[in-house]
């Protein structure tokens, strides 16, 4: 035991909805802080030494997969990218709100993301069937870069958990939905036109339901340009609505 090390108290939400005997509760785990400790390391240590039954998700441990998002002292963030040194002695951990609870800190973001993706048809709609033997069409490096910039979203769910609109209104697609459509709008291989995209997010469950609280921008672990992209979508969709939409 290092006498100068901090003793952390992790107050962790525990509940397994599929266990009828389980009820939501807080469990306090005390843990000695070690140099360079992330929340992911702290949780793994709890599971190894204190409570093997604790549920939390992780895959990459490097902020790439988006699995370990949770509420850290009330704010959404990735456990693997959060250093305990940046937090007070007491650390409160809750599962991300707005997603189906699997157990403890583990939530089913995948189910939500799939629903959103299907609703927004968030995949490339090719103009013609891809010929896998043909050479790919060229793309300007700047365009490829800007598409890649928006494609960095890891679907961790932090923007949904941080968004007051998404928390109040469950049909709101959130920043993750909008950034995805912004990405496909840029892609010249996508056959959809501006009117098609308007039909997907030109209402109150899309870009006009956003109240510009900008928490998504502030909590996004990938620092995606959400503020400017949502404002851009809003401007261009408003312009479309003013110039007259094609008849329904």
């Amino acid at each position: 035991m290092n006498p100068s090390a901090r003793l952390l108290a992790l107050h962790v939400f525990r509940h397994n909805p599929r266990d009828t005997a389980s009820s939501p509760r807080l469990v306090i785990y005390q843990l000695e802080e070690t140099p360079g400790m992330t929340l992911f390391i702290a949780l793994s240590r709890i599971r190894e030494t204190l409570d093997p039954g604790l549920n939390f998700d992780f895959v990459c441990r490097a902020g790439v997969c988006g699995s370990c998002a949770m509420l850290i002292n009330g704010r959404p963030g990735l456990a693997c990218r959060t250093l305990t040194a940046e937090l007070p002695n007491q650390i409160n951990l809750f599962p991300l709100p707005g997603f189906e609870l699997i157990a403890d800190l583990s939530v089913n973001t995948g189910k939500w993301m799939r629903g959103m993706s299907e609703r927004l048809q968030a995949w490339l709609h090719l103009r013609e069937e891809a010929d896998v033997d043909a050479v790919e069409a060229r793309m300007e490096p700047e365009l490829a870069e800007s598409i890649y910039e928006l494609d960095r979203c890891i679907e961790c769910g932090c923007c949904i958990a941080g968004c007051g609109s998404a928390q109040m209104r469950t049909d709101f697609v959130g920043a993750v939905g909008m950034i995805k459509l912004a990405r496909f709008r840029l892609d010249p291989r996508d056959a959809r036109n501006a009117a098609d995209f308007f039909d997907l997010i030109g209402d109150d469950s899309g870009v006009f339901g956003c109240m510009s609280l900008l928490a998504c921008q502030d909590v996004c672990p990938k620092q995606l340009p959400l503020q400017s992209q949502i404002a851009y979508l809003r401007r261009s969709m408003a312009r479309q609505a003013l110039n007259g939409l094609p008849p329904a």
């Binding site: 704010r75 709100p97 997907l200 609280l213 404002a231 809003r234 003013l242």
Partner: protein
């Protein structure tokens, strides 16, 4: 493909635009309104000149208070329109209130908290705004150094004005910031947002201070003028009467 019946059509976009536009107009109007009110700080003659100006005195040679009524009517209409449009965003169910409260408390995020301040101040103005607007609509001639001061003190309107000042400045100050981040196109969005936030704060502090000083000035005149309540102001300026 999306079936035609499920396509959003242009109205959600138009309503959002209209909410922003009506808010922008009302916000700019309030800033000018508070500046013109503050003319009393420069003296009774200054305020008298401002009121006569808006009654067309210096154009037509005599005061036409119905011009003020006409303007108040259009502001009233804009106010009702904005309130109706903003209602779309209000939390209406208990579930939504509970969720937002918990969310706001946990997040400790300024813009998230400020949005709720806008909801509360907007709700307050549903009730206080129409009282003021109706009085101005029906008594446009009673705006002047003594008439206004009498209304503030002898008419016991000062508690309403004090409350309304805070509601309108907070609501408008936050609202103008939100409009700027909502629609604006900036080369450095994060820097622009910090700057806009600072400007919004400075605006609120300035107009709250100015508004309180102005109200204090009317209170002082109103208390002094209480024995002669109802008597109109006669300007000391040369050449006008």
């Amino acid at each position: 493909m999306i079936p035609a019946s499920e396509k959003p059509g242009p109205w959600p976009a138009r309503l959002d635009l209209l909410q922003s536009l009506s808010g922008l107009l009302l916000g700019l109007f309030i800033l000018l309104h508070l500046l013109f009110d503050a003319s009393i700080l420069l003296g009774k003659d200054a305020m008298w000149t401002v009121t006569r100006f808006f009654e067309g005195y210096f154009i037509f040679g005599h005061a036409l208070p119905w011009l003020v009524s006409l303007f108040v009517a259009s502001i009233f209409a804009l106010f009702v329109l904005h309130a109706w449009l903003a209602l779309r965003k209000f939390p209406t169910q208990w579930r939504q209130h509970r969720i937002y409260w918990a969310h706001m408390g946990a997040m400790r995020h300024e813009d998230t908290t400020f949005w709720f301040v806008q909801v509360m101040t907007g709700f307050g103005m549903f009730f206080l705004g129409p009282v003021h607007l109706y009085l101005m609509l029906t008594h446009p001639e009673q705006i002047g150094p003594y008439a206004s001061a009498d209304r503030v003190w002898s008419g016991v309107m000062w508690p309403l004005y004090l409350l309304l000042l805070w509601l309108v400045v907070l609501h408008g100050g936050i609202g103008l910031y939100r409009l700027a981040v909502k629609w604006g196109d900036y080369s450095d969005p994060a820097k622009a947002r910090r700057k806009l936030k600072w400007m919004s704060r400075a605006l609120m502090v300035f107009f709250l201070a100015l508004g309180m000083l102005t109200l204090a000035a009317y209170l002082k005149i109103g208390i002094e003028h209480a024995p002669n309540v109802g008597e109109p102001y006669v300007p000391s300026l040369k050449g006008v009467s």
